[in-house]
Amino acid sequence: MAETPPLNRGGGPPAPPLAFAEEAMSHLDTLYRGALRLTRNPDRAEDLVQDTYVRALRYQHSYQPGTNMKAWLFAIMRNLFWDRFKGGRPEDLSLDDDSSDFALYDRIKDESAIPEDQVLDRLAAHEVVEAVEKLPPLHREVVLLVDVEGFSYKDAAEVLGVPIGTVMSRLHRARQQLQRTLYDYALESGIVGAKDRAAS
């Protein structure tokens, strides 16, 4: 990977080591969960997080105190992930584009005998996590940043090194895929598809 992390380069004095370490540690749970989603494997997630912190320590001079450390750490981790586990730059990959529109809300409205919000309540947490982890990595990482971590499109674009428009289009397609998977789970578990039977 590039030897310099992509965010917060230049300017500003280096953070005092203790403050830097404490702030970095405050993001550990977040980083670990992100690593779990990316690698889908606890051992690999631990390795990825450890390598991320080692690299962050090495490049702490490039972190500008007061800027978004979580985004900076995620950028390092994400680049390591693609280098270590995917064997290359994600920019070289093309996504299989299933361009057909899918809206879970519409499907539930049409097919479920129970209200939309109750359908969401009945989905198991592990099914939602599985649905996220089933996404292709380029889609998974944008859902992770925007939906789970609450990054703005702009910050997500910086972490991923892509234009904001790319974040938006990936996010849109990722959510459609995610909703399609959740719909399949809801069908399998009988949460939706009951309207006809209830009416008959």
Partner: protein
């Protein structure tokens, strides 16, 4: 704003990525349009569900200790 225009902007509205004037337009439409308001509630609930479900785990203590030794 009509329903289609609202649906087209809903994702960015849920993500808080619209300009102030666009936000006002959407809010006005949602106030006047129960079906779009219901869709908005659903999309918001779904986004929250993904977040909550993906925030369950914490880092293993062994990893935390290892990093403490590296960082401090």
């Amino acid at each position: 704003m009509n329903c289609q225009e609202c649906v087209d902007r809903l994702e960015r509205f849920v993500d808080r990525e619209l300009s102030t004037s666009e936000v006002e337009e959407i809010k006005q439409h949602l106030d006047d349009c129960p079906p779009c308001a219901e869709r908005y509630q659903f999309e918001t609930s779904l986004k929250r569900l993904v977040k909550v479900c993906c925030e369950q785990e914490t880092a293993p203590p062994v990893l935390r200790e290892k990093l403490r030794q590296i960082l401090f």
